[in-house]
Symmetry: C2
Subunit: 136 residues, 2 copies
DNA sequence: GTCCGTGCAAAGGATTTGCATAATC
DNA sequence: GATTATGCAAATCCTTTGCACGGAC
Protein backbone atom coordinates (compact mmCIF):
# COMPACT_ATOMS: atom_id res chain seq x y z
CA UNK A 1 0.00 0.00 0.00
CA UNK A 2 2.67 2.51 -0.89
CA UNK A 3 0.09 4.91 -2.34
CA UNK A 4 -1.72 5.07 0.99
CA UNK A 5 1.52 5.79 2.81
CA UNK A 6 2.25 8.67 0.48
CA UNK A 7 -1.19 10.21 0.88
CA UNK A 8 -0.97 9.92 4.64
CA UNK A 9 2.29 11.85 4.47
CA UNK A 10 0.65 14.57 2.43
CA UNK A 11 2.59 13.73 -0.69
CA UNK A 12 1.06 13.47 -4.14
CA UNK A 13 1.11 9.99 -5.58
CA UNK A 14 3.63 9.98 -8.41
CA UNK A 15 5.56 7.28 -10.18
CA UNK A 16 8.99 8.15 -8.74
CA UNK A 17 7.66 8.29 -5.21
CA UNK A 18 5.83 4.98 -5.57
CA UNK A 19 8.83 3.21 -7.06
CA UNK A 20 11.26 4.48 -4.48
CA UNK A 21 8.99 3.66 -1.57
CA UNK A 22 8.34 0.17 -2.93
CA UNK A 23 12.05 -0.43 -3.21
CA UNK A 24 12.49 0.17 0.52
CA UNK A 25 9.37 -1.76 1.47
CA UNK A 26 10.45 -4.80 -0.49
CA UNK A 27 13.61 -5.00 1.60
CA UNK A 28 12.78 -3.39 4.93
CA UNK A 29 16.28 -3.92 6.27
CA UNK A 30 18.20 -2.36 3.41
CA UNK A 31 20.27 0.75 3.83
CA UNK A 32 20.61 2.44 0.45
CA UNK A 33 22.42 5.49 -0.86
CA UNK A 34 20.75 7.80 -3.37
CA UNK A 35 23.06 6.42 -6.03
CA UNK A 36 22.07 2.84 -5.21
CA UNK A 37 18.39 3.71 -5.39
CA UNK A 38 18.96 5.42 -8.73
CA UNK A 39 20.88 2.49 -10.22
CA UNK A 40 18.46 -0.12 -8.94
CA UNK A 41 15.53 1.69 -10.48
CA UNK A 42 17.34 2.05 -13.78
CA UNK A 43 18.20 -1.63 -13.98
CA UNK A 44 14.47 -2.25 -13.53
CA UNK A 45 13.82 -0.09 -16.55
CA UNK A 46 12.56 2.93 -14.64
CA UNK A 47 13.65 6.28 -16.01
CA UNK A 48 13.92 8.40 -12.88
CA UNK A 49 16.40 11.22 -12.58
CA UNK A 50 19.03 11.24 -9.86
CA UNK A 51 17.90 14.70 -8.77
CA UNK A 52 14.41 13.33 -8.25
CA UNK A 53 15.78 10.50 -6.15
CA UNK A 54 17.50 13.04 -3.91
CA UNK A 55 14.38 15.18 -3.70
CA UNK A 56 12.12 12.25 -2.90
CA UNK A 57 14.47 10.85 -0.28
CA UNK A 58 14.62 14.25 1.40
CA UNK A 59 10.84 14.47 1.40
CA UNK A 60 10.55 10.95 2.78
CA UNK A 61 12.96 11.85 5.53
CA UNK A 62 10.97 14.96 6.43
CA UNK A 63 7.78 12.90 6.40
CA UNK A 64 9.33 10.30 8.69
CA UNK A 65 9.08 7.56 6.08
CA UNK A 66 12.82 6.95 5.95
CA UNK A 67 15.77 7.69 8.22
CA UNK A 68 19.07 9.10 6.96
CA UNK A 69 22.44 7.92 8.29
CA UNK A 70 25.94 9.27 7.80
CA UNK A 71 27.84 6.11 8.62
CA UNK A 72 30.53 7.14 6.17
CA UNK A 73 31.86 10.61 5.45
CA UNK A 74 31.30 10.70 1.75
CA UNK A 75 27.72 9.60 1.37
CA UNK A 76 24.47 9.20 3.25
CA UNK A 77 22.34 6.07 3.34
CA UNK A 78 18.61 5.77 3.92
CA UNK A 79 16.51 3.04 5.49
CA UNK A 80 12.81 2.58 5.98
CA UNK A 81 11.45 4.00 9.23
CA UNK A 82 9.87 0.91 10.66
CA UNK A 83 8.24 2.60 13.61
CA UNK A 84 10.57 1.17 16.18
CA UNK A 85 13.68 2.95 17.26
CA UNK A 86 16.90 1.04 16.88
CA UNK A 87 20.62 1.46 16.53
CA UNK A 88 23.17 -0.36 14.42
CA UNK A 89 26.01 -2.80 14.34
CA UNK A 90 28.05 -2.44 11.17
CA UNK A 91 30.50 -5.09 10.02
CA UNK A 92 33.64 -3.37 8.79
CA UNK A 93 34.54 -6.37 6.63
CA UNK A 94 31.39 -7.24 4.71
CA UNK A 95 29.23 -4.19 5.33
CA UNK A 96 26.48 -6.20 7.00
CA UNK A 97 24.19 -4.01 9.06
CA UNK A 98 22.34 -5.43 12.06
CA UNK A 99 20.00 -3.63 14.36
CA UNK A 100 19.72 -3.49 18.10
CA UNK A 101 17.72 -1.69 20.73
CA UNK A 102 18.49 -1.58 24.41
CA UNK A 103 16.29 -0.04 27.05
CA UNK A 104 19.10 0.47 29.52
CA UNK A 105 21.09 2.51 27.02
CA UNK A 106 18.02 4.46 25.96
CA UNK A 107 17.25 5.55 29.48
CA UNK A 108 20.86 6.34 30.38
CA UNK A 109 21.00 8.68 27.41
CA UNK A 110 18.05 10.62 28.66
CA UNK A 111 19.65 10.96 32.05
CA UNK A 112 22.87 12.23 30.52
CA UNK A 113 21.06 14.81 28.40
CA UNK A 114 19.07 15.96 31.41
CA UNK A 115 22.20 16.38 33.51
CA UNK A 116 23.61 18.74 30.90
CA UNK A 117 20.33 20.65 30.43
CA UNK A 118 20.31 19.41 26.89
CA UNK A 119 16.99 18.78 25.11
CA UNK A 120 17.59 15.53 23.25
CA UNK A 121 15.91 15.23 19.86
CA UNK A 122 17.51 12.23 18.27
CA UNK A 123 20.59 10.12 18.58
CA UNK A 124 22.67 7.71 16.60
CA UNK A 125 24.59 4.85 18.08
CA UNK A 126 26.64 2.65 15.86
CA UNK A 127 28.88 -0.25 16.86
CA UNK A 128 31.59 -1.07 14.32
CA UNK A 129 33.33 -4.44 14.31
CA UNK A 130 33.46 -7.86 12.72
CA UNK A 131 30.36 -10.00 12.37
CA UNK A 132 30.16 -13.71 13.12
CA UNK A 133 30.62 -14.80 9.51
CA UNK A 134 33.67 -12.64 8.92
CA UNK A 135 35.60 -13.89 11.95
CA UNK A 136 36.50 -17.24 10.28
CA UNK B 1 55.95 19.55 22.54
CA UNK B 2 54.21 19.35 19.19
CA UNK B 3 57.50 18.66 17.39
CA UNK B 4 58.08 15.57 19.53
CA UNK B 5 54.58 14.30 18.80
CA UNK B 6 55.17 14.65 15.10
CA UNK B 7 58.48 12.81 15.17
CA UNK B 8 56.97 10.01 17.22
CA UNK B 9 54.32 9.65 14.55
CA UNK B 10 56.99 9.43 11.86
CA UNK B 11 56.06 12.78 10.33
CA UNK B 12 58.58 15.41 9.30
CA UNK B 13 58.43 18.55 11.36
CA UNK B 14 57.05 21.28 9.14
CA UNK B 15 55.41 24.61 9.81
CA UNK B 16 51.91 23.59 8.72
CA UNK B 17 51.96 20.43 10.82
CA UNK B 18 53.25 22.27 13.87
CA UNK B 19 50.68 25.03 13.61
CA UNK B 20 47.77 22.69 13.07
CA UNK B 21 48.77 20.42 15.93
CA UNK B 22 49.26 23.38 18.24
CA UNK B 23 45.81 24.65 17.39
CA UNK B 24 44.25 21.42 18.65
CA UNK B 25 46.51 21.18 21.68
CA UNK B 26 45.69 24.72 22.75
CA UNK B 27 42.02 23.79 22.91
CA UNK B 28 41.86 20.07 23.60
CA UNK B 29 38.08 20.05 23.53
CA UNK B 30 37.58 21.73 20.20
CA UNK B 31 36.01 19.95 17.27
CA UNK B 32 37.13 21.70 14.12
CA UNK B 33 36.39 21.30 10.44
CA UNK B 34 39.17 21.68 7.89
CA UNK B 35 37.68 25.02 6.90
CA UNK B 36 37.73 26.24 10.50
CA UNK B 37 41.35 25.19 10.92
CA UNK B 38 42.22 27.00 7.71
CA UNK B 39 40.45 30.20 8.69
CA UNK B 40 41.82 30.24 12.21
CA UNK B 41 45.36 29.89 10.96
CA UNK B 42 44.87 32.65 8.43
CA UNK B 43 43.53 35.08 10.99
CA UNK B 44 46.73 34.38 12.94
CA UNK B 45 48.71 35.45 9.92
CA UNK B 46 49.73 31.95 8.86
CA UNK B 47 49.71 31.35 5.13
CA UNK B 48 48.76 27.69 4.89
CA UNK B 49 46.79 26.30 1.98
CA UNK B 50 43.47 24.58 2.47
CA UNK B 51 44.72 21.51 0.60
CA UNK B 52 47.55 21.24 3.08
CA UNK B 53 45.12 21.42 5.96
CA UNK B 54 43.20 18.49 4.49
CA UNK B 55 46.38 16.52 3.87
CA UNK B 56 47.72 17.12 7.36
CA UNK B 57 44.45 16.26 9.05
CA UNK B 58 44.30 13.00 7.13
CA UNK B 59 47.84 12.17 8.16
CA UNK B 60 47.07 13.02 11.77
CA UNK B 61 44.06 10.76 11.67
CA UNK B 62 46.11 7.88 10.28
CA UNK B 63 48.73 8.50 12.96
CA UNK B 64 46.08 8.46 15.67
CA UNK B 65 46.73 12.07 16.63
CA UNK B 66 43.22 13.22 15.86
CA UNK B 67 39.83 11.55 15.44
CA UNK B 68 37.46 12.34 12.62
CA UNK B 69 33.70 12.57 13.08
CA UNK B 70 30.86 12.80 10.57
CA UNK B 71 28.26 14.34 12.83
CA UNK B 72 26.77 16.17 9.90
CA UNK B 73 26.35 14.90 6.38
CA UNK B 74 28.15 17.70 4.64
CA UNK B 75 31.38 18.07 6.53
CA UNK B 76 33.72 16.24 8.88
CA UNK B 77 35.15 17.59 12.11
CA UNK B 78 38.34 16.63 13.88
CA UNK B 79 39.31 16.56 17.53
CA UNK B 80 42.48 15.75 19.38
CA UNK B 81 42.83 12.10 20.37
CA UNK B 82 43.10 12.50 24.11
CA UNK B 83 43.56 8.85 24.95
CA UNK B 84 40.24 8.51 26.69
CA UNK B 85 37.13 7.27 25.02
CA UNK B 86 34.07 9.47 24.97
CA UNK B 87 30.91 10.17 23.00
CA UNK B 88 29.16 13.37 22.00
CA UNK B 89 26.17 15.64 22.37
CA UNK B 90 25.72 17.95 19.39
CA UNK B 91 23.51 21.04 19.43
CA UNK B 92 21.54 21.18 16.19
CA UNK B 93 21.07 24.94 16.52
CA UNK B 94 24.52 26.35 17.29
CA UNK B 95 26.74 23.37 16.57
CA UNK B 96 28.11 23.21 20.11
CA UNK B 97 29.71 19.87 20.87
CA UNK B 98 29.93 18.43 24.39
CA UNK B 99 31.43 15.15 25.47
CA UNK B 100 30.15 12.40 27.71
CA UNK B 101 31.21 8.97 28.83
CA UNK B 102 28.99 6.51 30.61
CA UNK B 103 30.12 3.21 32.05
CA UNK B 104 26.67 1.67 32.01
CA UNK B 105 26.31 2.31 28.30
CA UNK B 106 29.82 1.09 27.59
CA UNK B 107 29.24 -2.22 29.27
CA UNK B 108 25.78 -2.73 27.77
CA UNK B 109 27.31 -2.32 24.34
CA UNK B 110 29.76 -5.09 24.98
CA UNK B 111 26.98 -7.35 26.14
CA UNK B 112 24.96 -6.63 23.00
CA UNK B 113 27.92 -7.33 20.73
CA UNK B 114 28.63 -10.55 22.58
CA UNK B 115 25.04 -11.72 22.25
CA UNK B 116 25.27 -11.33 18.50
CA UNK B 117 28.71 -12.94 18.27
CA UNK B 118 29.98 -9.64 16.97
CA UNK B 119 33.57 -8.57 17.69
CA UNK B 120 33.27 -4.87 18.51
CA UNK B 121 36.13 -2.67 17.37
CA UNK B 122 34.87 0.86 17.79
CA UNK B 123 31.62 2.68 18.15
CA UNK B 124 30.14 6.11 17.80
CA UNK B 125 27.32 7.40 19.88
CA UNK B 126 25.98 10.86 19.31
CA UNK B 127 23.04 12.60 20.94
CA UNK B 128 21.52 15.41 18.87
CA UNK B 129 19.35 18.11 20.40
CA UNK B 130 19.26 21.66 21.67
CA UNK B 131 21.79 22.91 24.18
CA UNK B 132 20.99 24.99 27.25
CA UNK B 133 21.84 28.32 25.60
CA UNK B 134 19.76 27.68 22.50
CA UNK B 135 16.56 26.82 24.37
CA UNK B 136 15.86 30.52 25.29
C1' DG C 1 -6.94 24.65 -15.13
C1' DT C 2 -3.89 25.16 -11.31
C1' DC C 3 -0.33 23.70 -8.86
C1' DC C 4 3.14 20.62 -7.84
C1' DG C 5 6.61 17.23 -9.54
C1' DT C 6 10.08 15.86 -12.76
C1' DG C 7 14.15 15.68 -15.86
C1' DC C 8 18.04 17.75 -17.40
C1' DA C 9 21.88 20.55 -17.04
C1' DA C 10 24.26 23.72 -14.46
C1' DA C 11 25.67 25.19 -9.93
C1' DG C 12 27.47 24.38 -5.26
C1' DG C 13 30.28 22.91 -1.51
C1' DA C 14 33.56 19.74 0.52
C1' DT C 15 37.51 17.19 -0.44
C1' DT C 16 41.26 15.34 -3.45
C1' DT C 17 44.85 15.51 -6.82
C1' DG C 18 48.62 17.11 -10.33
C1' DC C 19 52.44 19.65 -10.68
C1' DA C 20 56.23 22.94 -10.03
C1' DT C 21 58.45 25.05 -6.16
C1' DA C 22 60.27 25.06 -1.58
C1' DA C 23 61.36 23.04 2.62
C1' DT C 24 63.24 19.20 5.69
C1' DC C 25 66.82 15.99 7.11
C1' DG D 1 71.48 16.90 -2.35
C1' DA D 2 67.66 13.61 -2.22
C1' DT D 3 63.36 13.22 -0.80
C1' DT D 4 59.10 14.79 0.97
C1' DA D 5 55.81 18.71 1.77
C1' DT D 6 53.47 22.75 0.21
C1' DG D 7 50.56 26.01 -2.49
C1' DC D 8 47.87 26.82 -6.13
C1' DA D 9 44.56 25.62 -9.44
C1' DA D 10 42.03 22.23 -11.55
C1' DA D 11 39.49 18.15 -10.92
C1' DT D 12 36.22 15.05 -8.52
C1' DC D 13 32.43 13.52 -5.87
C1' DC D 14 28.03 14.05 -3.71
C1' DT D 15 24.19 16.91 -3.48
C1' DT D 16 21.23 20.92 -4.61
C1' DT D 17 19.00 24.22 -7.62
C1' DG D 18 16.89 26.75 -11.89
C1' DC D 19 13.93 26.21 -15.36
C1' DA D 20 10.65 24.58 -18.82
C1' DC D 21 7.65 20.75 -19.43
C1' DG D 22 4.42 17.17 -17.92
C1' DG D 23 1.36 15.01 -14.67
C1' DA D 24 -1.76 14.83 -10.47
C1' DC D 25 -5.98 16.29 -8.51
Amino acid sequence: VPATNLKKAGLKVTVPRLKILSLFQEKPYSHLSAEQVYKTLHSSGEDIGLATVYRVLTQFEEAGIVVKHNFEANQSVFELQKGDHHDHLVCVKCGLIMEFCDEVIESRQETIAKEKNFRMETHTHCIYGVCENCQD
